[in-house]
């Protein structure tokens, strides 16, 4: 009974954990912008959320359809994955999925990381594009805050319904 009330909150909280995770990864990229040989990491938020909420059904019992973000659309040229540059998606470049990355046990909502594809090759083997990382960082911060507000709003709605005021 109570599940139907908290299902929505559950979904948003999983999204929040993933957003926090991604924020951390982006912070690591920005921190390592000048480190030779560092490979930039990133996370495809949409597919991770889909994986985390695979069993999620709305209150009416039907699955919520989720569309893939354009960020997960990876083209390929000669067997090499190409990036969002081609799709004109600045906010999230394309990602090479990494199969070796395991999830944390217990399905804590920890996301699966991939490697952000390089925009400009550099001599020292560092693949961080600082401009893209900063944009993504800001974008992710706004999304995090939006998710927070959704949670707050839903909590308020539930409380209003319970209290009948």
């Amino acid at each position: 009974m109570l599940e139907t009330l908290t299902n929505q909150l559950d979904f948003q909280s999983k999204a929040l954990v993933l957003r926090a995770e991604r924020q951390r990864v982006l912070a690591s990229n920005i921190a390592n912008a000048d480190t030779p040989g560092y490979a930039a990491r990133d996370m495809d938020f949409a597919s991770n959320l889909r994986a985390a909420t695979g069993e999620f059904t709305g209150g009416s019992g039907q699955r919520l359809p989720m569309t893939a973000s354009s960020g997960s659309a990876i083209g390929s040229v000669g067997g090499m994955p190409t990036i969002g540059l081609a799709t004109g998606d600045l906010g999230r470049g394309g990602f090479m999925p990494v199969s070796t990355v395991g999830r944390l046990p217990g399905g804590s909502g920890a996301g699966e990381l991939g490697y952000a594809v390089q925009t400009q090759p550099s001599m020292d083997g560092n693949s961080v594009d600082l401009d893209r990382e900063r944009a993504t960082f800001a974008d992710n911060a706004v999304h995090y805050e939006a998710t927070l507000r959704f949670i707050n709003g839903q909590a308020k709605t539930l409380l209003t319904a319970i209290q009948g005021q």
């Binding site: 926090a20 990864v25 920005i30 030779p36």
Partner: protein, 134 residues
Amino acid sequence: MSMFSIFNVSGSAVSAQSQRLNAVASNLANVEAVAGPDGKAYKARQVVFQTVPMGDEGTAGVKVVQVTESQAEGRKVMDPSNPSADAEGYVTHSNVNAVEEMVNMISASRAYQNNIEVMNTAKTLMLKTLQMGQ
């Protein structure tokens, strides 16, 4: 709590970049240095960064692993009247390239600012998280 490690990550980057700025400062201070009594002039110093994994996968900070000295030849200036001149009348100056150092300084200060901004954003988000449900 995953967001707390942002402070470790960005903090390590800020400290690494400030070491880089220190190296730049001492290089620029010694641009005009000539060879001391040991006959060796100041050599330009450079820090070497390395990634440090911190806890979870994908979380990585930075540290300075070593400080290298440039082995380039120092500038030789003909100045026979200088007491530091060698037998041929040349004075050996430090091998610091002031232009390179200025570029390095700008790059380091930008990186420093970036990481401070990251920490501020993380702090704001976490404070908002603490107010959840109020």
